[in-house]
């Protein structure tokens, strides 16, 4: 029977530097190979990692990547992921500390997906693909070990979700009728990039019967409408992960991301009178918003579920069989986390 004294897995768990699953021991040799593949010196500072603003040097990132099981060639993606989640706009401090349940979801675009054999197809949020599994895990270990966010300490999430272990997908660009997310976010086609999004667990919407794109969007809108709860409003960035079959149906009817976000944003508004606290559920508009209306119970002013149409983001991913779309709510309060995309410098 291995003890903490002679078993590297027990030793590392006892140090409190793991996610509870066994990690690959970060030997000097393994870390050196990872640093060599990073394309930057080991002592170069990549970012300060909230909530404690620990210094993520290339070497510290490499140690965590090794522990997560990354191959050395994954390092450029991990480094870009660190830059994305540590960007001020992402507010990793709030994401890590909140009682809500949002973890950084990483979405990879561009040729690096192919080179690293990342999964963009069947079971895209699931296990079985080393790059997805270990890049996402490395970034979680970095938040814990460099940022200092451990559950029950600074991290106060009441529920969390399985994506707190690892949460990394690639876009199925080959099956998408639209420009990839990174291009929608302003990067050149063919540029590998990673996007960080403060994400709840995916809520998978099933629609096998819609034969028109508009009907499908209506189905999906009803699931977006219950994010957080049926009367919550003013959500920020919100992600739809659309399966290839759904994407084809939508594209066939002329829908593209701009048209979809305008349609959904408009449809998702609700009148003040349907958002009253204590009617059809205790939740509802906060007092400072209700105070703007003389008689909220009858008022018809429309309040947006999602603050701006631009907050609705679209990715095509998942297997080629099956008519499903995942609604992924973001950490949402006003002026909080924004989706952030960074280029991947992988020397290719």
């Amino acid at each position: 029977m291995a003890t903490a004294a002679d078993d590297p897995f027990e030793t590392l768990y006892a140090r409190g530097v793991t996610d509870g699953l066994p990690v690959v021991p970060p030997t000097r040799e393994r870390v050196a190979a990872a640093v060599a593949a990073a394309g930057r010196p080991g002592d170069a500072l990549v970012a300060l990692v909230p909530p404690n603003f620990g210094r993520a040097t290339v070497e510290k990132v490499a140690v965590n990547a090794v522990m997560a099981g990354c191959r050395p060639e994954y390092l450029p993606v991990v480094l870009a992921g660190v830059e994305a989640m540590c960007d001020d706009a992402f507010d990793l401090h709030g994401v890590s500390a909140t009682t809500n349940s949002a973890a950084p979801l990483f979405i990879v675009n561009g040729p690096v997906r192919i080179r690293l054999e990342m999964n963009a197809g069947a079971g895209v949020f699931g296990p079985g693909h080393r790059a997805n599994a270990t890049i996402g895990r490395a970034l979680r270990l970095i938040v814990r070990n460099i940022g200092g966010a451990a559950a029950g300490g600074v991290t106060m999430s009441t529920m969390a979700h399985p994506g707190y272990f690892t949460y990394c997908i690639a876009e199925n660009e080959e099956e998408s009728p639209w420009p990839p997310l990174s291009v929608q976010e302003g990067f050149a086609a063919g540029q590998s990039a990673v996007t960080a999004f403060a994400a709840y667990a995916p809520q998978v919407v099933y629609d096998h019967q819609s034969h028109r794109g508009e009907d499908l969007l209506v189905t999906v809108s009803h699931s977006i409408a219950v994010m957080s709860h049926h009367k919550s409003t003013h959500h920020g960035d919100t992600l739809l992960v659309i399966s290839p079959e759904h994407a084809r149906l939508l594209a066939k009817d002329g829908w593209d991301p701009d048209r979809m976000r305008e349609f959904l944003w408009t449809r998702l508004r609700k009148p003040v009178r349907d958002l009253i606290p204590g009617v059809d559920g205790g939740e509802g508009l906060p007092a400072h918003v209700l105070a703007k209306f003389a008689d909220p119970a009858t008022h018809g002013t429309l309040i947006a579920k999602v603050r701006e149409a631009a907050n609705l983001k679209f990715v095509v991913a998942g297997g080629t069989a099956g008519r499903f779309t995942a609604v992924v709510a973001g950490w949402t309060f006003p002026k909080m986390s924004r989706m952030v995309t960074k280029p991947i410098h992988d020397g290719a």
Binding site: D91, H93, I146
Partner: protein, 93 residues
């Protein structure tokens, strides 16, 4: 074997020890920090009343973070450090 592994942490990520607690609040300068969560002010109003009634502090300062979602701005942290012996922070709703 253990010493062969490189350290994945940064020193600031290690849990820090909290400051020593004063034996009494009498004559102390106390800051009540509202982090801008809903109804945090209700809680802190009541705490202020009870502190004044029971502990006779020298002064109570009320300060507020612009948003609970981000760390307190550097100048606010510096101000609190400079003027305060005891800090009470109103967390969550």
């Amino acid at each position: 074997m253990a010493e062969e592994f490189l350290d994945p942490t940064d020193s600031v990520a290690v849990p820090r020890r909290t400051a020593s607690r004063p034996a009494s609040l009498e004559g102390k300068v106390i800051t009540l920090l509202d982090i801008s969560k809903a109804k945090g002010d209700h809680l802190l109003d009541r705490i202020e009343e009870l502190l004044r009634e029971r502990h006779h502090p020298k002064a109570i300062h009320r300060r507020k973070k612009p948003t609970f979602a981000r760390p307190a701005p550097e100048d606010l942290r510096a101000l609190i450090l400079k003027e305060t012996e005891v800090l009470v922070e109103g967390l969550a709703d």
